[in-house]
Assembly symmetry: D2
Homo-oligomer: 305 residues x 4
């Protein structure tokens, strides 16, 4: 079936493609007085946000920022949050920031996407504009360099939060699926891929530890469920369903990648494949829906040429 055998080391790369979707994203710059409180806020904010099929947003730390890179000179991080539309992000992000960052000692939150272009054409969602209400009419706003910030009184002083977050167009659902001879080998390969992506700018891996083991297909035998287990990749269902597992594979994992644009996702998929390949990794493929749903198709062989 695969006329063009392609290998990374001992691992065959299947002649298939990842099908990804247009998404919208915001970038938040979160800062705090030190790494301890920064990590407390980041851990809370990026929790419970693996997939918009079951959560309100897909979030992750894009990369850590040195104090020299943040606008208040404190340790910080760039965080990406993806949703299927700016409206959906406007529903979820202010609540997350209010519960996970505003509550956390010493933190501040800034918009992290470029705001050039006219205010007409750039979309945005409210952030401080919503959270200010917590101030019970004691909040104050200030305008600095054309950007509005809110100072909401809290117990350690004021929570500084930017009025709005710029919404940009991104790509969601880039992915690779790797198959191993046994769980130990597949898991080690998945972790290599996830760790290789961690420092990369422009992408996040929204699932816990960067890896998914409960891949899903569209639809279900139960009404009202949008997704159900991807039976073709379940080793225990081999023989009962049409399997996508290659001979000898007894375990598979998926790495899901959301990125700020197509090149970022393409680069991340290439790096993930290179990191995952190795002895006992019998195949690296990708998940798609036959090409009919998602607008972006990342062909694995093309990524490696």
């Amino acid at each position: 079936m695969y006329f063009d055998p392609m290998l990374i080391g001992p691992t065959p790369i299947l002649d298939t493609f990842a099908e990804a979707f247009p998404m919208r994203f915001v970038r938040l710059i979160i800062t705090a007085v030190d790494d301890y409180w920064l990590n407390a806020a980041l851990g809370d904010f990026t929790g419970y946000s693996a997939s918009i099929i079951g959560c309100d947003a897909e979030t992750g730390v894009e990369r850590m920022l040195d104090p020299s890179e943040t606008c208040d000179g404190r340790p910080g991080a760039a965080v990406l949050a993806f949703g299927f539309s700016s409206e959906a992000l406007g529903k979820s992000i202010p609540g997350r920031v209010g519960q996970c960052v505003m509550t956390c000692p010493t933190t501040a939150v800034y918009n992290g996407c470029a705001t050039d272009g006219s205010s007409e054409t750039i979309q945005s969602i409210p952030l401080g504009k919503t959270l200010r209400y917590f101030g019970d009419d004691f909040q104050k706003s200030k305008l600095l360099g054309g950007r509005r910030y809110w100072r909401v009184p809290v117990m350690d002083g004021e929570f500084l939060v930017e009025e709005k977050l710029v919404v940009s167009k991104g790509v969601g659902g880039g992915n690779i699926i790797l198959q191993g001879t046994c769980p130990e080998i597949a898991l080690a390969a998945a972790r290599r891929a996830s760790e290789a992506l961690a420092p990369l700018a422009g992408v996040i891996t929204p699932f816990p530890g960067g890896v998914v083991r409960s891949g899903s297909k569209v639809g279900s035998k139960y009404k009202g469920l949008a997704a159900s287990t991807n039976d073709a990749y379940c080793p225990t269902l081999r023989g009962r369903v049409e399997t996508s597992l290659v001979d000898g594979a007894h375990c598979s994992y998926e790495i899901v990648i959301d990125g700020i644009d197509e090149p970022a996702v393409a680069a991340a998929m290439r790096i993930a494949m290179q990191a995952a390949a190795g002895d006992g990794v019998l195949a690296i493929g990708a998940g798609n829906y036959g090409g009919k749903l998602g607008k972006f198709h990342f062909h694995l062989h093309e990524l490696l040429r």
Copy 2:
């Protein structure tokens, strides 16, 4: 006003009380093949869950478990999740486990509360009973020692999840509020308190890093908002509102404690006060609503006698 001056070291303990509420909780035992994946699942599960005023549940890691303490002999953790009723927990917990644990390589989830007593009198919420639907009718159940488990096919084999979680009666909203001369001193004191509570069985501190800086009061000037900033503890509002800050205090923090029963919360509050007290910590008090709302009153002076 305080006829009975009480001190821990240099720090006055105010003659007041914490007002806490009856809550319901479940204990989940989460295990994984190693600490890396265990922590990935724990971090995701306990995210976005600081306060039921703004989140769907209040969660936290109660304590880490040695492989010798778990029923499958793997590294694990006891996690507590609090809600205001078993119905509320039944709404939130299956979704959290489905998104944050079922997705994570190698994990399994068990009920961690005692199941003795007749099945008539013990309340429970569905867990595997709900999550099994992800299996798209391929899932299987097994009964072991009177407890039912579900095996849901996933890409690395099967996700093992117990049918139900026992719901028990707990206490939510135990707290101390500390005041410091400056942010650095108050923050260090809050962190000492939070770290002293981390290994304690029977309690969690659901806020990020265990500390709250956006304490709230009931009600708001804006309709439909259940809570707003606790202005009496905001240093920037001193002079505009009736303040609760003592002379010289310019920063305050709250440690919120949810526990499995009154003794657990009382012990945790005592330990938190002892850890927080120190030079520059000008007062340790607690939050209450005049005693009219919450059923449990933890008087600070009584806790220390």
Copy 3:
């Protein structure tokens, strides 16, 4: 394609089937002092509940009840509410009753499904068990004939509400799709079908006025959207997609039927077809997913034999 032409009057019945799903339902008996307030509660309770793809439940009035049929001798109605599991119903129904019925003067709410069988085997969801908390600890319970009720103090006395609702197994998504030469004819046919079903016991038509004009398919080109327009039935898309519209049809409507069991849905589909058929109605078919998703298949030709 249809070797067995079957007609109702001038209208061809296509040789296809409706694909329906196992669902769970509860039956509420709502009573009030007179029809004015009964209808106020019913209208509010059954609003915003057309499809569990976008709402929290699918609800509708099953039939109106004479005072001689209700347990408190007042005017009443049997209301059915469907969800995909008892857990989902437990999430949505108490909130709906609290907002739409408890608020409404003079109303009371009882369980309307049989409770025979052991309490072990019959599933139920909380109702008064949840709503009682509104009473702020002033509520009282009473036990009558083995069923528990709550009396919640309100401004016109007490809101009487049964502790639990029995959950039964039902069928969701029975349907017919009719095609007409023009909008006027198709709309009149759809209304005839909807009105014929109104007095029928055992079924509801959850959409506004009993008819759907925005039928959907599973999946979307946009990530995170579980459903999108059923392009095959959109007259304006004929020529751009593979259409399911017969020659000459310029408008189609769907009647969705949820019922307490297969015979109830089958009977309702037959009645709906007989009522809808007529001059200018060029075809009556049904919606399905190729038979792979829903467990119940209602073949139109078999229903009419």
Copy 4:
């Protein structure tokens, strides 16, 4: 306590005030081919929307519109929807329209608030901008007179929906509370008040039938509940709590009024009092929180001078 006795007929008007809040609202113009389908859409859209303490919005039909008053020459209605902020409305209204109006045969939805003023200063929420995604990339937009509309392909042609809804500042929580000697008298008075308000422009009464019998106070003995029964008005709690019921009153009802501005709410409260007063109506007062929460105070005696 009331030095200035004021009467409407036999009914004393208490010297108190209604405390109301700033809210945001949108006005939707919904049209359909005839009254049957118009009412189907209106009934569904305005269901489950009595109070933002428990629902996603407070909605109601403001008034019915003659075909000569609508922009497409069909029967229509002006519908008001209130939330505590434009962000909150942006979360709830597109979903409601998608489920309750887009599904309903022949309907169209337009913005009903003035759009003059610069686009910079006027706030808006997405409507067609969100719902268009249902069209699965087949939707089209058109620009007419500076306003953008979306045409989403559906089974009876196209659903026409305006891109955005203008958000305006309104007033929520205007109210009167009436007390009667018995339930029959109080209920008749409440219905008179509700029916008097129905044709009034600028206001809605969001509760079922326009009347509330489960009035609430802020806070609860149970943690995480924002509101609980207003015990001071519960006749069965007289003697156990500090009652607000006058001697001889055994039943009370509240009429809650949301309006587009202060004069509209003031006029509606006056009309409601005049309609409600009568034999056996022992007092008409209003609900407030001591004046500390809501910005608007409607003093009953001033309204009548």
